[in-house]
C-alpha cells in the first residue's frame, strides 16, 4: 500500500501533527537521556561542564531535529532513500581517502567545523534504502535469489567500506541491522540458516588463520578475542578493562553504592567510563535497581517501536521502523553484553546514555524518522 492510497485527509497536517506523535516514545527517550546526564555528571566527579552539560546541549539540539524530522512526511524519506544511500557510500569512500584517524581507525571526516562519522549516517540511510527496496519489490519475489542478492549487495557495499577503516564493530552492526530488515521483509528463513552456517564456518577459519601468513584479523582483534575468552589471563593488560568493568558492575549489588559513590568509576579503575563503559558506572552506583530500570526503559522503547511498526500498514514505514528499532536494539544489547563480559570488547556506545555527539544525533534523527512514520501512518 502506498501513500496515494491513504485516506490522505485523515493524515494530520501542519501543527496538528504534534498531537499524533508517538509521545510515550518521546518521554522514554528523554528519560533514558536523563539517566545519561545523571551518570555523566557522576563519572565526571561532579563537574557538570565536563560531560553532562555538552551532552544536554546536544540532546536539546537533537530533540529539535527529531521534531523537525517527525514533521517531514514519510514519503519524502522514501523518495530520497537511494540518494541518501549513494551519498553515504561516497562519504565512506571519502573517509577512506582523507579521513581522520582516531583510536586506531579512520572514522572521522572533518568538513570545516563539522566532524562527520559517515559510518553512523550509513546505519540509517541503508536501512531506509532497504525498506524502500522491499516496499517496491512485490512480496512474492522477496525470496528469489536474484532479488535477495540485490539487498545483500546493498548491505555489503557500505559494510566493506566500514571494514576497511577498519571498524569491525560497525560492520557487524550494519550486517545485523540489514539482516533484521530482510528478515522482517519476509526473506526465506533458509537464507538466514545458510548465512549463520557460513558465519560459523568463517569464524572457525578466522581462528584457524591465526599466526599464519594469511591471518584474517589484526593482532589486536585476536587479542580481544583472547581477553574475552579469559579476561583473568592478563588482568593488567588487555583484560584489565573487562575485569574492572565486571567488578564495578557486580559490586553494585541490589541497590548500588549510591550516587557518586562508585569507587570503581570515581577512582579511575574503569576505562572509558563516560562512553563505552558508562553502563558499569550506572550498575555500580544504582545497583540492579538502576541497571534493571534502564534495561526496562530500553525494552519499552523497543516495544513501542515494534507496536508502531505492527500497526503501520505502510510497508516502507513499517520496515523502516523495524530497521531503526533493530539498530537501537543492537546498540544497547551489544554494549551491555560487552561490559558484562558476554561479547569481546569493542568500542560501542550505550545508546542515548554514553557521551558522544554523533551517536546521540544519529539516534535522535532515527527516532525523528520513526516518529514521522508514526505520524503519517495510513489511517
Amino acid at each position: 500500500m502506498s501513500y496515494l492510497d491513504y485516506t490522505v485527509e485523515r493524515v494530520p497536517t501542519g501543527w496538528r501533527k504534534i498531537l499524533f506523535l508517538n509521545w510515550p516514545l518521546v518521554f522514554l527517550v528523554t528519560a533514558v537521556s536523563c539517566i545519561g546526564f545523571l551518570m555523566l555528571y557522576s563519572v565526571s566527579g561532579g563537574e557538570i561542564d565536563r560531560w553532562a552539560m555538552p551532552q544536554m546541549e546536544r540532546f536539546a539540539a537533537g530533540m529539535a531535529i527529531m521534531f523537525a524530522l517527525a514533521f517531514v512526511p514519510i514519503w519524502f524519506w522514501r523518495s530520497i532513500s537511494v540518494v541518501a544511500y549513494v551519498i553515504c557510500v561516497l562519504l565512506l569512500v571519502a573517509v577512506e581517502l582523507m579521513g581522520h584517524v582516531g583510536m586506531g581507525a579512520q572514522r572521522w571526516l572533518v568538513l570545516g567545523p563539522v566532524r562527520i562519522q559517515p559510518s553512523e549516517l550509513t546505519k540509517i540511510a541503508f536501512v531506509m534504502t532497504l525498506a524502500a527496496y522491499y516496499d517496491w519489490l512485490p512480496v512474492e519475489k522477496v525470496s528469489r535469489p536474484l532479488w535477495v542478492l540485490i539487498p545483500v549487495l546493498l548491505i555489503l557495499t557500505p559494510t566493506a567500506l566500514v571494514l576497511m577503516q577498519p571498524d569491525l564493530g560497525t560492520s557487524i552492526m550494519l550486517i545485523a541491522g540489514g539482516g533484521i530488515v530482510m528478515f522482517v521483509a519476509g526473506v526465506s528463513l533458509w537464507y538466514f540458516g545458510a548465512v549463520i552456517a557460513i558465519v560459523i564456518a568463517l569464524i572457525t577459519t578466522v581462528m584457524e588463520s591465526r599466526g599464519t601468513d594469511w591471518q584474517l584479523l589484526h593482532n589486536y582483534q585476536f587479542k580481544r578475542i583472547d581477553t574475552f575468552l579469559d579476561p583473568g589471563s592478563d588482568p593488567l593488560g588487555a583484560g584489565y578493562n573487562i575485569m574492572q568493568a565486571q567488578i564495578a558492575l557486580g559490586s553494585g549489588g541490589w541497590s548500588g553504592r549510591g550516587f557518586m559513590q562508585g569507587t570503581q568509576s570515581r577512582l579511575n579503575f574503569l576505562p572509558e567510563k563516560h562512553t563505552d563503559f558508562i553502563f558499569t558506572s550506572l550498575a555500580e552506583e544504582f545497583g540492579f535497581v538502576g541497571a534493571g530500570t534502564l534495561l526496562l526503559l530500553y525494552v519499552l522503547i523497543l516495544g513501542f517501536c515494534l507496536h508502531s511498526a505492527l500497526t503501520n500498514r505502510d510497508r516502507f514505514a513499517s520496515l523502516l521502523t523495524i530497521g531503526i528499532a533493530g539498530t537501537f536494539f543492537l546498540y544497547f544489547s551489544i554494549n551491555m553484553a560487552t561490559v558484562m563480559g558476554m561479547l569481546p570488547a569493542k568500542g560501542s556506545p550505550l545508546p542515548l546514555v554514553s557521551y558522544g555527539g554523533t551517536s546521540l544525533m544519529i539516534l535522535l534523527m532515527g527516532f525523528g524518522i520513526l516518529q514521522s512514520a508514526h505520524v503519517h501512518r495510513p489511517r
Binding site: 500500500m1 502506498s2 496515494l4 492510497d5 517496491w136 512485490p138 512480496v139 533484521i180 528478515f183 522482517v184 521483509a185 519476509g186 574492572q244 565486571q246 567488578i247 564495578a248 558492575l249 557486580g250 559490586s251 553494585g252 549489588g253 541490589w254 569507587t263 570503581q264 577512582l267 579511575n268 579503575f269 550498575a283 555500580e284 545497583g287 540492579f288 541497571a291 534493571g292 534495561l295 530500553y298 525494552v299 523497543l302 515494534l306 511498526a309 505492527l310 500498514r313 510497508r315 513499517s318 520496515l319 523495524i322 533493530g326 536494539f329 544489547s333 551491555m336 553484553a337 558484562m340 558476554m342
Partner: protein, 647 residues
Amino acid sequence: MRKSQKEIAESSRLISRRVLMLGVIQAAVISTLGLKLRSMQLEHADQYRLLSDGNSIKIRLLPPARGLVLDRNGTIIAGNEQNYRVTLTREDAGEISTVVARLRRIIPMSDRQAAELLAEIRRRSAVTPVMVADRLTWQEFSSIALNAPALPGVTPESGLSRSYPRAGDFAHVLGYVGPVSDYDLSKIENPDPVLRLPEFQLGKIGLEAKLEEELRGKAGNRRVEVNSAGREMRELSRQEGQQGATIQTTLDARLQNFAAQRLGTESAAAVVIDVTNGDIVAISSSPNFDPNKFVRGISSVDYKDLMKHDHRPLADKTVQGAYPPGSTFKMVTLLAGLEAGVINPGSRFFCPGYTQVAGRRFHCWSRGGHGTVDAIRSLEQSCDVYYYELAQKVGIDRIAAMARRLGIGVRHDLPMSAITEGIAPDRAWKMARYQQEWQVGDSINASIGQGYVLASPLQLAVMTARVATGREVIPRLVRAIDGVVQPVPDFADLGLNPLNLRTARGGMDAVMNGSHGTARRARIVAPEWQMAGKTGTSQVRNITAAERARGVISNDQLPWNRRDHALFVCFAPYDMPRYVVSVVVEHGGGGSAVAAPIARDIMLFALADGLPPLSAYPDSERAKVEEMWSKMNLMPEPTSKTARAKA
C-alpha cells in the same frame, strides 16, 4: 504505484509474523542480559564487592615509634626526634625541573645533588614519592609548607628518627640503628612487614640490635582509598601503632659520661658493676664515636676515619676485647691454691727475682726479688715468683676451674654485641686447640695472667665482684622493661672458704693501702670508701734474651702498639663492697701508674654519685685531680633526684 488490497494484507501478515519472530529473538537476548545482570549483581555481588574493595582500599603501615632507652635514673639515652623531610611525586609536580629549582631556593642543594635528584625522580615511577631532603630545620620545613602552592607534588612529611642525646657516651653499649638492608631481611625468618617501609630503621649492633624485638613496637595501619594509579585519595580509618617497650638500663648516664671523659683519648675500657645486684652502672669503651652519624647515614670519609684509626673506635673493648689479664689474674691463682689446700694463707715462698724451671728462667718483675713472700705480700707487691711456685703445686686445671668459677673464660650474657668468652686455658683446651701437651712453662705464664689467658674488662669486673662478695654475681644491663623491674636473683654462694676470700681481699687492700702496695698512690683516703684493688701490666710482646741482656727497654721508648697493657681492678668500700671497677688501657704502660688512677676516679664518682670531695684523695694527688676535673665537660647534675625520676 498501486498495490492491491490483497497484496497489502499479505505484506502486513508477513511483517506481523516476522516481527513477532524478531520480537521473540529480541526478548530472548534481553532476558539473557537481564539474567546475567541478576547473576552478577544479586548472586555474586559479595564476590565483586570484595574485588572492588581490594582494588581501591589499600592498607598502609604506620611505623611504630621505637622504644626509648633510659638510664637507671630515667634519663633518656636513646630517644626519637622529629625528622622533617620533603618528598616529591612526579605525577603531581608537572615540570619537575622548575619545582626543583624553586625548592633549591629554600633548601641548599649543590648542582650535582640537584642533577642526581632529577635523575632519581625520572627513574622512579610517577606516583612514587622520592625523598628530596632529610633532616630539615623547622624553618626550612615550615617555609616549604608555606610555599606549597608554588611547589606542586612536594609533600613535607615528618617522621620519627632515632637520636642519641648523649652522643658517644653510650655508643658501644647501645649500638645504633640504621636502614634495613636486604642482608638484614635475609637473616630474619618471616620479617615483620614494617621492616620493608623505606624509612624504617632497625638495631644494627649493641643493645639496639639485641633488644630489637622489644624496642621495635607494633606497626599501626591506615586504610586508604587509592585510585587506579595507586595514588591516595583519602584515609578511611587509622589505627596507631604501639610504641616499642621502654628499656631502662642499669647504666648511670652521669657516671658513664664521667668514665668516657676519664678514659679520654686512650684506647681503653672501663666497667663498673654494682656488686649488690650485678647492675652494670657504667661500661665505657674509648675512643668512642657518635652513633647519630650512623643513623643519618655516615659519610664515607667519616667511616674511613673510624676504620683507619689505630685505637679502633668502633670496637667495644669492654666485652669484645680479650686481654692477657696480667697480675689482676693473681687472685684467681691464689684462690685456686688456697682452695686446693696446697698452700694456706701463711705459706711462704722465697723470691730471688726469678724461678728456674726445666732449664728456663722465669723472671719476677722485680729483678732484685721480693725475698720471703706470703699470700698477702704476694698481692701487695705483685710478686711473680710466688705464683710461679704456686702454679707448679696447684696445676693448671684447678686454676682454670677457679677462673671459670670467678667468671673468666665464660660468656656473660648481656644484650651487647660480640661478647667474648675469653680463655681460661687448661690441658684439654691446649690439646684441642694446638694438639700439644700442656707444659709447666704454660702454667707459670698462666699463673700471672699471661700466656694463653685472656679476659675482657667485663670478665675482670665480674671476677673482682665475685672475690669481693664470695657470691656468684651475674652482671646485667636491663633494669626494667616498660616499667616492670626485672627481678634481681639471689646470687648463689660460690662456696669458697671465707678465710681464703678474706686473704685475697686483704691482699688487694694491701695493694692500695699497704706500705709497699703497688698502687698506693691511687688509694682512697676517705675511710668510709676505703678501696682494695689489684694492678696488672700485661706484655704484648716477648722479651728476647738479647733484649734482656741489653736491659729491658722501658715502655716509653717503644712504639705505642708494642707497649704493655695497663690493667686495674678494684672494689670499694672495703668492708662492705658496693662497686667494682675494672680498667684496661691498651698499651698504656704500667697498671699502677696508668690504669689505677682512672679506676679510682671512676670508683669515687660512683660512690659519691658525682664528683667526690677532694678530701677522698691523698694530699699529693689533689692538685692533679682538680686540674683534671676542670678540663672535663661533665654532664650537668640534675636539679633534683625527683625531677630526674620524672624525666
